[in-house]
């Protein structure tokens, strides 16, 4: 007992991390989905980190030693994915765009998590008028279409300014406003449930202060779903960012590369047969969102023991192997459907 400490889970730290632990317990189709998602997301993050090294030109570069770039040039050896109507290199814009996207996700989701979790814990635990006021505000925010709200916020915050940080913060703030109610709702519901749990009551009976109960007993238990919400919201914030950019509330091309803005400028090109200006930013958005969503949905399914596929008992193909395989597939299918349901519910 002399050497005993009150800490130290026996599992290794690495295998306890959210995504890695999920990967370890997944099988079959669910594992495939998760790995696909992870590969896409990993590729996206790699592009972000390596953008300064692998992008042939800067995001706002219009010329090099051999003169200005031609506008709307088809893919060639000098411009692998062609150039835009403004004379930017498409490949470089797509690569640099991932950096903008990551920055916005990190800032937006970080802000909304901190704010949402803190408000949710307080509101759920104390209840009363504080809770009622916060719920009404959250409901009011829900009532607005999120993109409209983001546009309003972007105008209020940046007054149409478009410096790199100005633009990013404007986007991030507007996304935060949309997301805070989601985190708030989830954490508040979880807190209210936990408040009635015997272990919280037992802390109350011991005479623990409210702050101690919230911090020590409720916080960790209420935030188990956060990795899941993080991945799902990350993909949604990319869509919101792209939506803002597409509608012209994004970041000016001289400040940063932004996929939505490029898509907007490529609109006119589509009808005149210039496909490369629109397709590549579009693919970038789709793949990134797909990757993050796959990771999120897989985590969602794997968190739920009823949706999680498992290896057959006995570890060998049994007599009814065909029926078994079918069962597994149906399980995965309903799993993702239910996952969508949960996600909608989370948003609603």
């Amino acid at each position: 007992m002399s050497t005993a400490t009150f800490s130290g889970p026996k599992k290794s730290f690495l295998s306890g991390l959210p995504v890695i632990s999920h990967l370890n317990k997944s099988v079959g189709l669910q594992r495939g989905m998760l790995i696909t998602g992870l590969v896409l997301t990993g590729f996206f993050l790699l592009c972000t980190i390596l953008a300064p090294f692998i992008a042939p030109y800067g995001y706002s570069q219009l010329s090099d030693q051999s003169g200005s770039f031609p506008a709307q040039q088809a893919p060639s050896s000098k411009h692998l994915l062609g150039t835009t109507v403004g004379g930017y290199d498409v490949l470089s814009r797509v690569l640099w765009g991932s950096q903008t996207a990551v920055t916005v996700i990190v800032v937006a989701v970080a802000m909304s998590i901190f704010l949402g979790v803190a408000l949710g814990l307080l509101s759920g635990y104390y209840g009363g008028w504080l809770d009622r006021v916060l719920v009404v505000i959250a409901d009011a925010i829900y009532a607005f279409p999120s993109l409209l709200l983001a546009i309003v916020m972007s105008i209020v915050i940046s007054h149409g300014q478009s410096s790199f940080w100005g633009g990013i913060l404007a986007c991030a703030f507007s996304i935060t406003v949309v997301f805070v109610p989601q985190y708030f709702r989830v954490i508040r519901a979880e807190t209210i449930r936990l408040k009635a749990e015997p272990f919280v009551e037992s802390a109350m009976v011991l005479g623990a202060s409210s702050m101690r109960i919230i911090g020590r007993h409720i916080f960790k238990n209420a935030t188990r779903t956060l990795p899941l919400m993080f991945t799902l919201n990350a993909s949604e914030s990319i869509l919101t960012l792209a939506g803002l950019g597409f509608l012209g509330f994004g970041i000016e091309p001289s400040s940063a590369a932004e996929w939505g803005f490029d898509l907007n400028k490529a609109m006119a090109d589509a009808s005149s047969g210039i496909w490369w200006t629109g397709v590549f930013p579009g693919i970038a958005i789709v793949l990134t969102v797909l990757g993050l969503t796959l990771v999120g949905e897989s985590i969602n399914d794997l968190n739920d023991p009823r949706l999680r596929g498992r290896k057959r008992a006995g570890g060998k193909p049994s007599r009814s192997a065909a029926a078994v395989g079918q069962g597994g597939n149906t399980g995965a299918g309903t799993g993702s459907a239910a996952g969508n349901g949960t996600r909608e519910a989370g948003n609603a």
């Binding site: 007992m1 005993a4 009150f6 272990f199 037992s202 011991l206 960790k220 498992r310 008992a313 006995g314």
Partner: protein
Amino acid sequence: MTTNIGNISDQPLPTDQPVLDIERLKVTFATDSGDVYAVKDVSLEVKAGEVLAIVGESGSGKTVTAKTILGLLPETAISSGAVLIKGNNVISVSRSKLRKIRGRDVAMVFQEPSTALNPVFTVGWQIAEGIRAHAADGHRISAREAKKRATEALRKVGIPEPEVRVNYYPHQLSGGQKQRVVIAAALALNPGLIVADEPTTALDVTVQAEILQLLRDLRDKYGTSIVLITHNMGVVADLADRVVVMYQGDVVEEAPAKALFAEPKQDYTKNLLAAVPHLGRNSASEGAKERLHQGGKVLVEAKNLTIEYPGRLGRPGFKAVDNVSFTLSENEVFGLVGESGSGKSTIGRAIAGLNRATGGSLKVLGYEMLDFKEHTFKPLRKDIGFVFQDPAASFNPHLTIGECVAEPLLIHTHPSPAQARLRVAQLLESVQLPASYAERFPHELSGGQRQRASLARSLALNPRLLIADEPTSALDVSVQAKVLELFKDIQEEFGFAVLFISHDLAVVDMLSHWVGVLFKGNLVEQGIGSQIMGNPQHDYTRRLIASLPVPDPDEQARRREEHRALLGI
């Protein structure tokens, strides 16, 4: 009743053939931590008109066996062996065949009647659903005909005015009536076999007696065979003809009920039977002529205590506790008995400051709870310990046992880490847990170990008063026996006062010096434990005690007759 169903059965059966024949059944589950062998090698058979009880503690595989009989195992399970019902092997038949067998040859009664019924359909519709599902080809059963049969089924299970009740929704019926409806639905097609999985566990003891009587009548009148899954030895003694004892997926012993209770052969069965609390034996107040432990200070004093939950807008509140007076002195164990909804937990929670008293007077350690303020009550909290019902839920899953037990110390006495560790080790030792368990997480302990740790936590500050709210009702009977024994020892050693809340009369009698009986918020009777159990005065107490089945078939048969005489049947 079976005439309309048509001749689906494959071959006529000789009468002496068993209704159910399980041979070498094995069931394996795939889980995250590898394969779990839930049922290892079980063979048993049930004859026509026989009640076979499968008894075992949690994890013994009894429910899995029952589910296999109806083909209700989840997809993660594989089973081998044979489960023969009227010559059909349930494990290998096709799904459509299985559907025909369910309801017609074998039906199930579930544990919790309120979740087994769909709240948006009338009970008549739910019974009729099974009848119509089994209409033979070309013989569609009209809605009217189905309803007539549903009414008939309700009449069979003793629901008064079945013509009216058939149109009721589940929420309009009481718990016992709901369970009758579930049984009626199981009976609707006259199956030869009913599998009842803990049919009375969710019910109060007085209602349990009625349901057991109903099941017995069904067997006597209609010759239905019953497979009764239960952990309650009293229920077994009351109903079963033959008993199969299961332990960790294996059959330990199989014997006629009387023989099993009289002369158990295996050690496991002996220990199991010895652990069952038996009303009237082992009373804590045995031989007491007057109330014990009245010399010391009075710690809790309730005078005309009323606790009312506020009603919804425009409706009167609900009085959970109505005009209750009692005292609890130093060193005394006060047992509070009552069925669900009697207000017994509410009183315990009010004493701990988790509920507010609304009328009368409740003095806890001299503090008037009517003027409760958290900051003025807080200094007294270190003198009050609380043991919760479900040990699994009363520990924060993210903290180790050591951290949980140290929590009261950290809040009230701010010890150094070394002091805290030492004290935690002492506490764990006093509840007979190894000190090394301090580093484990709650889910790594068994139910009984967790409840010991919970006791250790409540004792951390040497409280003068301990409130134990159903501390053993979530535990298996052999574990319960050990925890109760420990509880008794520790109480005698440390000498704190205890308010012991339970629905189980036998358990209360084992621990308490003074017993109070609650009924719908009223304290109908209080007195010395052994006297209340032996010579109850109030009608309700008499009914309560008479309803409690004792684990002895002969004695239980005698008690049953007394009970019926008491109710005037």
